[in-house]
């Protein structure tokens, strides 16, 4: 079975077929990422944008990475930021909000549960929350999250560590449980 890196090497030429195979490998994961952040409807529209952007940027993929998923999350993240940037261009005094968490939080509120977790996430700095969500929601390792965010792996680990410490500190209801669980702290999961 060809690795993602193999497919992207072949996609560097004139034939887009290998890239479509890559798309089919990761489309569910990328759609989930988008759906969590912008909602299921806009996610459907953004999905093809991600493929287009990834195809255009395929030369930027480091073929030393065997999996393209973290790289694709990075591209998806840029599309999400662009989505939020364009969504409210007419707001008075609007400036690009780096952190779209209020909108994500609004959608999570529909779930109607785990308000403490949402409150704890809301209190985190955006850069720490993003690492945490890539690990928790997208099941990336901290090293892979670093690729998605374009930051050093050590930085990702330290952000994750700070996020988890803060998260546990803010989860009053669940605090007693969390204090007994310190597994995976800063480790690559999976």
């Amino acid at each position: 079975v060809e690795t993602d890196a193999d497919l992207l090497r072949r996609a560097a030429g004139l034939d887009p077929m290998p890239f479509v195979e890559l798309v089919q490998r990761h489309e569910k994961a990328i759609h989930r990422y988008l759906s969590r952040r912008v909602g299921p409807g806009p996610a459907e529209d953004l999905l093809s944008d991600v493929w287009m952007a990834a195809f255009e940027d395929r030369a930027t993929f480091d073929t030393a990475w065997s999996s393209a998923r973290p790289w694709l999350f990075g591209i998806a993240r840029n599309r999400v930021r662009s989505y939020w940037r364009n969504k409210r261009p007419d707001s008075p005094g609007f400036e690009y909000q780096l952190d779209p968490w209020p909108e994500v939080d609004d959608r999570l509120a529909i779930v109607g549960k785990a308000s403490e977790v949402r409150a704890a996430l809301r209190s985190l700095p955006e850069e720490e929350r993003e690492v945490l969500l890539l690990v928790a929601w997208e099941e990336l390792t901290p090293s892979e999250a670093a690729i998605a965010l374009g930051i050093p792996a050590g930085t990702a680990r330290s952000r994750l560590h700070r996020a988890r410490v803060a998260l546990r500190g803010n989860l009053r209801v669940l605090a007693s449980d969390f204090l007994g669980s310190d597994t995976n702290m800063g480790d690559d999961r999976g």
């Binding site: 195809f55 949402r118 969390f178 995976n184």
Partner: protein
């Protein structure tokens, strides 16, 4: 013990989308890739000569009348790059099995098929927007025997100028019904209309023959889909119709569109393919395998490389062929 990572994970659970969502995103990606101006790597894969979709005889009217007609020409090319929808292929294979059991047309008899045709013919002179055009409606009748011989009669029932039409005229002589005879020599004068005679009924051989004779190109999935679809709509024998379904089921880029209703209100199942923003869908009766309707419509605005199509809104129907009646008659001149 509740892990904090798990606590976060639990509030972020989202269901996977239906397969059609992923297929649609791939289709849009492929269409945009093909339509991207100046994209050398995509254009390098395009055919040197643009094949024409088999055009209904009625469409020739506006085509001849206009100074520069943008016909319903749909290019083949990158439609080969996505996988086959298993659901769509399964639907087509079931239809193939159904029609394969239809009785043969008795010797000397003909399968009479009546269809309603509608066609949006756009013309343009400036290259920026369609400034003339017609909505053409009409009928097509075919009488085809078991080996594909017979005749076709097509008539216009209305020609309606679109708003903004600049006065192009339809030649009166071409408003008369057009009669064509299917046979071994048929096709030289009207190469864009499918000749249903002389086709093999083994699916592999049929696909090869379609790709060669209808200029579909060896790897042009989309144009093969178009050509096979129109052959299916005019084929007489159950063996050929079954083979057409089997060819369609093998084509990369096929999508399943689920339940659909044709222009007569009949419910069926739609499958099809999108290329350069134009979606070709066939609706078929899953109980009998009968073809109900073929429709070409704009799925992705602006994605077509046909200039006049770029300004059309999503959902604009370019043409339809709706099979309204099909019955065996005793001669090529008999009418039910």
């Amino acid at each position: 013990v509740v892990d904090d990572i798990d606590a976060v994970r639990n509030i972020g659970a989202v269901p996977d989308a239906e397969d059609s969502v992923y297929e649609w995103a791939r289709e849009v990606f492929i269409a945009r890739l093909a339509a991207e101006p100046g994209r050398d790597d995509a254009r390098a894969r395009r055919p040197q000569r643009r094949p024409r979709r088999p055009v209904r005889a009625g469409a020739l009217v506006a085509g001849i009348a206009a100074a520069t007609t943008v016909g319903v020409f749909l290019a083949g090319g990158l439609g080969t790059t996505v996988g086959i929808s298993s659901a769509a292929a399964a639907t087509l294979r079931r239809a193939a099995a159904k029609v394969a059991t239809d009785p043969s047309i008795p010797q000397g008899d003909y399968l009479y098929t009546h269809s309603n045709i509608s066609e949006l013919e756009l013309t343009q002179q400036t290259g920026s927007s369609p400034d003339t055009g017609y909505n053409i409606t009409g009928t097509e009748e075919t009488w085809v025997n078991d080996v594909g011989e017979g005749r076709l009669r097509t008539s216009q029932t209305s020609i309606e100028a679109l708003p903004g039409d600049n006065g192009s005229q339809v030649l009166p002589a071409l408003q008369q019904p057009i009669n064509l005879t299917f046979g071994s020599t048929y096709g030289e004068s009207f190469p864009d209309i499918v000749n249903p005679s002389g086709w093999p009924t083994q699916p592999g051989a049929l696909r090869t023959a379609i790709e060669q004779r209808l200029d579909a190109g060896a790897t042009k999935s989309y144009t093969t889909f178009l050509s096979t679809t129109y052959l299916l709509s005019e084929a007489g024998s159950s063996a050929l119709r079954s083979a057409c379904y089997q060819v369609l089921a093998t084509l990369p880029g096929l999508s399943d569109y689920g339940s659909a209703t044709d222009s007569l209100g009949r419910t069926g199942h739609a499958v099809g393919m999108t290329f350069e923003g134009i979606r070709t869908a066939i609706i078929l009766n899953t109980s009998t395998g009968a073809l109900l309707q073929v429709t070409n419509a704009v799925a992705i605005p602006g994605a077509s490389d046909v200039p006049a199509y770029k300004v059309l809104a999503a959902g604009t129907v370019l043409n339809t062929k709706t099979l309204t009646d099909q019955t065996v008659v005793s001669s090529a001149t008999s009418e039910p």
